[in-house]
């Protein structure tokens, strides 16, 4: 993967929820080179720095970006119109490492469980990952992909139908209990881990608030049979690993979200 600076024309920006938007544009290069967990560094008008957005999904040569209005940059982007130009550097970042089942697991056709855990808008990069999984693993009668969606309430649950269409098993948790279980994805995760067959290797992939990662990590203590990759965010400068601005604290010192991440092994963090 080699990042490139490209200009694209906005194909569509649609409002998905009150403050969540889905942007799409055509870029053969980005569509071909992007991997789940990669991000795009997008320059919008009237801001100084670029803003990082994960690749939400790829369809043919079309790229989709799902984002929530969080500040000035995302607010401006949400007002872009079809045909307007965006300057993008990408794809960037390390992406999720997709752990393939070991040969003996494949023979047994059991023993591996992939769980995607999305806190709110954290579903953005996980859709692309789910897309990738359903394209590759399920063809081999591999176990279903489970995805846990957390949201404040029923209205804010994102991507549920689409993930179901992909063939994922979707469970929802809402803080007010208006849909799925009342609580957070942590409750759902605990259930998934309790109800699995003994000897199963579990791969967790997550994106969401840092507090959620911390809670996941609490559950994983002493669980060698569960590994977990989490996608972090941080205020970012260059996105290319040169300015050292987007660091986070890890067990091995400060690491750059743009270059060492955005995906980290949760056990390298705590």
């Amino acid at each position: 993967m080699k990042p490139k600076q490209v200009t694209v024309k906005v194909d569509k920006i649609e409002r998905v929820k009150t403050d969540v938007f889905l942007l799409s544009f055509v870029s053969g290069y980005l569509a071909k080179e992007s991997r789940p967990g990669n991000f795009l560094h997008i320059k919008v008008n009237s801001t100084i720095l670029r803003r990082p957005f994960s690749v939400h999904k790829v369809s043919g040569n079309k790229i989709y970006v799902l984002f929530r209005i969080r500040g000035r940059g995302t607010d401006i982007l949400s007002r872009y119109k079809k045909g307007e130009i965006l300057d993008i550097i990408g794809p960037l970042g390390n992406g999720f490492e997709v752990r393939r089942p070991k040969t003996e697991d494949r023979r047994l056709k059991t023993g591996i469980q992939n769980i995607l855990i999305a806190g709110g808008i954290g579903v953005a990069p996980l859709m692309f990952l789910a897309q990738h999984f359903t394209k590759t693993l399920n063809t081999n009668h591999q176990p279903l992909i489970t995805i846990l969606l957390g949201a404040k309430n029923k209205k804010e649950v994102l991507c549920e139908q689409e993930l179901k269409k992909l063939g994922c098993k979707v469970y929802v948790a809402t803080e007010d209990g208006s849909k799925g279980i009342k609580g957070t994805v942590i409750g759902l995760l605990e259930r998934s881990l309790w109800t699995r067959e003994p000897g199963t290797q579990t791969n967790l992939y997550s994106c969401g608030p840092k507090e959620m990662f911390w809670n996941i990590n609490q559950i994983l203590e002493g669980r060698k049979d569960v590994n977990c990759q989490v996608s972090f965010e941080q205020f970012m400068g260059c996105g290319l690993g040169i300015c050292c601005a987007c660091t986070i604290e890890t067990k091995n010192g400060y690491k750059k979200v743009c270059k060492d991440g955005p995906v980290f092994d949760i056990r390298d963090i705590w």
Binding site: Q5, I48, L49, C244, C246, Y254
Partner: protein, 307 residues
């Protein structure tokens, strides 16, 4: 390009001869090698590296960067691998890039500054040394260039240990920047670089927490351009040594303003984070301006503000 008229873009900074006057500022271009394949180095006169210190530095607690209305606050805190690793690991990769390198150095004392400059003086492939006397992000350390006597002492000590081109990078956060600049010149600096960032902060009113992990940081970007331009003009009008001028340059027009105000070379900083190839566009704009104004030599442009 057809019938390209002979235009001289070369400038001289001490013993350093640059093919063009564009310098990518310290901290905004890494060590250059990270950008191979992405940047056209032919348009970059020189790269000022990330500041190197004697020992490795982990840098400041995150978050380290925050964008405000017209500028960017950063507090990276000189994260760097230390001089030994820099020489053994970075220099080799940098050598393959066809541009000049100005090695930015930082220190907590004259001893540290001297040691590191000595190391670099003994190192081939080091074209010039920029003494960072102005980082705003080191806790419990005074900014050397806020004090003209300290500035004189540090530069004087470094002048003794290197014959390489020595550039003093000074802070705009001082009541009389001209006297600091003159002190650096008198102590033997070959050139001055200004400005470094301005102190700044921002607070998230919902959490009541500062947006920067270290509470405050250095402000850069378009917001500071008029202020840095003023300081470059003030200094360049007085000193006899070359001034590398910058602070908030985002395009060729801004770069030309700094040349008109008296800068020998211009530095691109924050803009590199957004457009790593900005030097190419800025250089093209300067050439176009020189043609339009029928200026054959960039050195004729220097300080030619019409007053």
């Amino acid at each position: 390009m057809m019938n390209r008229p002979k235009t001289n873009l070369g400038v001289t900074i001490g013993k350093l001869r640059l093919a063009n006057p564009i310098i990518c500022a310290s901290g905004t271009f890494g060590f250059g090698e990270e950008l191979r394949g992405f940047v056209d180095f032919g348009s970059v006169g020189a790269i000022a590296t990330k500041t190197i210190t004697l020992e490795p530095r982990a840098g400041n607690p995150p978050p380290r960067i925050f964008e405000t209305e017209c500028g960017v606050i950063n507090s990276v805190g000189l994260e760097n691998p230390g001089v030994d690793k820099f020489i053994s690991e970075k220099l080799k990769a940098m050598r393959e890039i066809d541009t000049k390198f100005i090695i930015s150095v930082g220190g907590g004392s004259i001893f540290e500054y001297s040691k590191i400059v000595q190391r670099l003086d003994e190192t081939k492939d080091v074209d010039a040394i920029e003494v960072n006397l102005s980082c705003p992000n080191i806790k419990n350390k005074k900014i050397v260039s806020q004090d003209k006597k300290e500035t004189y002492k540090v530069v004087k000590a470094l002048r003794k240990v290197t014959s390489k081109t020595l550039i003093a990078k000074i802070t705009p956060e001082v009541s009389d920047i001209v006297s600091v600049a003159v002190a650096a010149q008198d102590a033997g600096a070959d050139a001055l670089a200004l400005v470094n960032t301005f102190f700044a902060m921002a607070i998230n009113i919902e959490t009541a927490k500062p947006y920067i992990g270290n509470i405050y940081g250095g402000y850069s970007g378009p917001a500071i351009k008029p202020m840095s331009l003023y300081r470059v003009w003030r200094v360049a009008s007085v000193v006899k040594i070359p001034v590398i001028g910058g602070g908030g340059i985002t395009d060729a027009d801004a770069a030309i303003e700094f040349l008109l105000a008296g800068a020998t070379a211009v530095s691109l900083g924050t803009v590199n984070l957004v457009y790593p190839n900005k030097a190419k566009e800025v250089l093209a704009g300067i050439i176009e301006y020189m043609r339009r104004k029928n200026i054959k030599d960039i050195n004729k442009l220097r300080g030619s503000m019409n007053v």
